[in-house]
């Protein structure tokens, strides 16, 4: 119930393309869904986050789409750039426990 499942494990996208990473969860008590970006040798950095009361949130080239009934959410990176090459983690948080649970990660490579 505390798991967040993320796919794909790795993704290669051409520069200028759209990168899409998907996550699914089971625990309906989760009420906050952030995405983290991690570069090699660095800690994860908060990229964008969404609450389940909205279906979409956009910040620049990054968009989260949220489907509450399907218990799925996804990250879309528009006009992907080589600098976006990193590992991306979805996560989910139960406000009561404040525990942040992470997906397995997606290694994204943007080819120039």
């Amino acid at each position: 119930q505390q798991q967040v499942k993320q796919s794909p494990q790795s993704l290669i996208v051409q520069k200028g393309g759209i990168s899409i990473i998907n996550c699914a969860y089971e625990n309906t008590a989760f009420d906050y869904f952030p995405w983290y970006q991690q570069f090699p040798g660095k800690g994860p950095a908060l990229l964008i986050a969404i609450r389940p009361d909205v279906s979409e949130k956009k910040e620049g080239r990054f968009t989260i789409s949220f489907n509450k009934s399907a218990k799925q959410f996804s990250l879309h990176i528009m006009d992907s750039q080589p600098g976006d090459s990193a590992t991306y983690f979805c996560a989910a948080r139960n406000s009561g426990a404040q525990k942040l649970v992470f997906g397995q990660g997606t290694r994204l490579t943007i080819n120039p």
């Binding site: 952030p34 983290y36 660095k42 800690g43 983690f89 426990a97 404040q98 942040l100």
Partner: protein, 113 residues
């Protein structure tokens, strides 16, 4: 604003030895987390503090791992004795209570040989 500070950055020890990691959270952040990140996997929560009290340590291997948070600020995570499977990056994160965003340090990469 200074970020979450961790030390050391790297540590290599032999199995059965002990090791300690240190974390200084962002000023004012009452919630502090220790995560273990094995290569190729997502971070796994080991322990969560609220001020100097433990909120969740359900996934902490208590026979060998211990953690404390003195005066509700800095924290140390200790492993004694270390096993080969403890090789991982140990990440510290902090946040305001009930805050949505957690901020991570750069981590300590532990190699057990």
């Amino acid at each position: 604003e200074a970020g979450v500070a961790q030390s050391p950055r790297y540590k290599i020890i032999e199995k059965r030895q002990s090791v300690a990691f240190w974390c200084n959270p962002i000023s004012g952040h009452a919630t502090l987390y220790w995560y273990q990140q094995i290569l190729g996997q997502g971070p796994k929560l080991l322990i969560q503090f609220q001020n100097n009290g433990v909120v969740d340590d359900s996934q902490l291997p208590k026979d060998r791992f211990s953690a404390e948070r003195l005066k509700g600020v800095d924290s140390t995570l200790k492993i004694q004795p270390a096993k080969l499977e403890d090789s991982a990056v140990y990440l510290c994160a902090s946040s305001f209570p009930a805050s949505l965003g957690a901020f991570f340090g750069q981590g300590t990469r532990l190699t057990v040989v």
